[in-house]
């Protein structure tokens, strides 16, 4: 894995040769500006749906191991 990452970093080092003076970064490829929507309340997942894929729950919340010692 380490050798692979070295190979890839070596390959992408080609970027260091590019002439990018005065070139802006690409933020997005579309021409969209400020996509707005009306603030209309809409339905969302029920608690049951949101918990359905959880590895562990107590029926109401996601359950994880202790975070503090």
């Amino acid at each position: 894995m380490g050798a692979d990452l070295d190979r890839i970093l070596d390959h992408v080092s080609a970027l260091q040769r590019a002439d990018i003076s005065d070139v802006p970064e690409t933020a997005q490829v579309g021409a969209l500006v400020n996509v707005w929507r009306e603030d209309v309340p809409a339905g969302s997942l029920s608690q049951e749906q949101a918990l359905a894929n959880a590895p562990d729950t107590d029926g109401e919340y996601f359950k994880v191991g202790a975070i503090q010692e």
Binding site: M1, D4, L5, R7, I8, L9, H11, V12, S13, A14, L15, Q16, A18, I20, V23, P24, E25, T26, A27, Q28, V29, G30, A31, L32, V35, R37, L45, Q49, A50, A52, N53, A54, P55, D56, F62, V64, G65, A66, I67
Partner: protein, 487 residues
């Protein structure tokens, strides 16, 4: 007689003549899957209940004119396993999502369901769509229908193979750096990557959000155009969705290429091409010229930087997108005494090597001290690449070139990651610039399919179909089927 290998257009015509029912088409699709998938492994799951329900719904729609049955009504389709279908397994080819059942359906899939299409199942792919051969799937490799010892390409290899094997006439994949066009090329089918933002990403499991785009596979350009039209269009649930109305991709299908100016980028015909690919693509370009297009050589000087740019930007976005797989809310969890260890073990056991490589590369490229040298620089080179496309499109209407530098290779033959990445050298720049592109069959090299790529300016998806349809109408390659299609 089985309908396996027919185009969707032929199936739709037969449905309307009453020669076949949606249930019979579905039965044919299932028979083809059960006959061939033990050797191909194109499907990860079959969505039998959904397919049966949709076949019934399609029957209703076809019977009652007021229900507005469209061209995909009653047509079996397959979905890459990165597209969420409520209640059905959606794994993204990863162990970490082995038991995941999405609580909602992707917009693209919902549009297919509303159109009466019949989703047969979910197709195999590289884990989280990261790969060019489908060998990175956690659920086994996929055989190329033209030679099962070879890869179908990737990452949408299962979707490409499902069409090439005549299991379904239409399937959907995603293309982040070539993941529709490259497998289409290797499997001898049509594969279309729309302009970025044309098809909603809502419900698509994210890999690199500024590059990901959903698109179809088909046996013909017309089928691909129809399959694209059904899923395209603005979706308020995807804020990067293009707002402008979709130009009908069928409108220009018969317009031909007479008078069109086509460019061949010099850098796409370089040393990296296999001889057979170069020959077939050169012949294809000559055909377009004979059809009345003017063809000229153009230059996209930064092409060779595309791969490096992509392998910073895509891993950076992937490392952020995949942070959500933490073993808490969904997906696999490997329980350990502390939460930190739980995260680490879960991700170590849940992700395969290519995903880990890209997450590490991405976090590295985004980390303080390296951000300017890698990520920011890559985003600037991305601008340069997009501007070079803009410049050539001032003198030509579309570009024609190879899709993949090589034909399908033997499974296991490429072990070096950079060598694998080079398979996408001719498709990646199109994603970086957000352009539409198609791959269509243009002949064979050593009995393996070769693909011709057509690229057009942003939002000119219809022009891609126009050029591709003109070539297809003048040639017979799209009629060839892999020998295993016929029982």
């Amino acid at each position: 007689m089985s309908s396996a290998g027919l185009t969707a257009a032929a199936m739709a015509a037969a449905l309307r003549r009453g020669e076949v029912t949606p249930q019979e088409l579905l039965a044919d699709a299932r028979a083809q899957v059960s006959r061939l998938d033990s050797s191909l492994n194109a499907f990860l799951a079959l969505t039998d209940d959904l397919a049966d329900r949709q076949a019934e719904r399609a029957t209703e729609m076809l019977r009652d004119d007021r229900l507005g049955a469209g061209p995909l009504c009653g047509i079996p389709v397959a979905l890459k396993d990165v597209l969420c279908v409520e209640g059905y397994p959606t794994t993204a080819g990863s162990r970490i999502l082995e038991n995941f059942r999405p609580p909602y359906t992707a917009t693209a899939v919902q549009r297919l369901i509303d159109a009466g299409a019949v989703p047969v199942g979910k197709t195999n792919c590289d884990e989280f769509a990261m790969g060019s051969s489908t060998e990175n799937s956690a659920y086994g490799t996929v055989g190329n229908p033209w030679d099962v010892e070879r890869v179908p390409g990737g990452s949408s290899g299962g979707s490409a193979a499902a069409v090439a094997a005549g299991m379904v006439p239409i399937s959907y994949g995603t293309d982040t750096g070539g993941s529709i066009r490259q497998p289409a090329s290797l499997c001898g089918v049509v594969g279309f990557k729309p302009t970025y933002g044309r098809v909603s990403r809502y419900g698509l499991i994210a890999f690199a959000s500024s590059l990901d785009q959903v698109g179809p596979f088909a046996h013909s350009v017309e089928d691909a155009a129809v399959a694209y039209a059904v899923v395209a269009g603005n979706d308020p649930r995807d804020s990067t969705s293009v707002i402008d109305a979709v130009e009908d991709p069928l409108s220009a299908l018969r317009d031909g290429v007479r008078g069109m100016r086509l460019g061949v980028p010099r850098e796409y015909m370089g040393d990296g091409l296999e001889a057979g690919v170069r020959e077939r693509v050169t012949e294809a370009i000559r055909v377009l010229e004979e059809l009345g297009a003017t063809v000229e050589e153009v230059s996209l000087p930064s092409t060779e930087l595309g791969l490096s740019t992509y392998y910073i930007i895509a891993p950076a976005e992937c490392s952020s997108n995949l942070a959500r797989y933490d073993g808490v809310r969904f997906g696999m969890r490997v329980e350990r005494p502390s939460l930190t260890e739980t995260y680490l073990r879960t991700r170590d056991q849940g992700f395969g090597n290519e995903v880990k490589r890209r997450v590490m590369l991405g976090t590295y490229a985004l980390s303080s001290g390296y951000y300017d040298a890698y990520y920011r620089r890559a985003q600037k080179v991305r601008t340069v690449i997009a501007r070079e496309f803009d410049a050539v499109f001032e003198t030509v209407d579309a570009l024609v070139c190879p899709t993949s530098p090589k034909v399908a290779f033997t499974t296991g033959a490429i072990q070096d990651p950079v060598e694998m990445y080079l398979n996408d050298a001719l498709t990646i720049p199109v994603n970086l610039a957000g352009l539409p592109g198609i791959s269509l069959p243009c002949g064979f090299s050593d009995e393996l399919p070769v693909g011709l790529q057509v690229i057009a300016p942003r939002l000119q998806d219809a022009r891609v179909f126009r050029v591709a349809a003109a070539y297809e109408a003048a040639t017979e390659w799209h009629r060839h089927r892999a020998p295993l299609v016929a029982a």
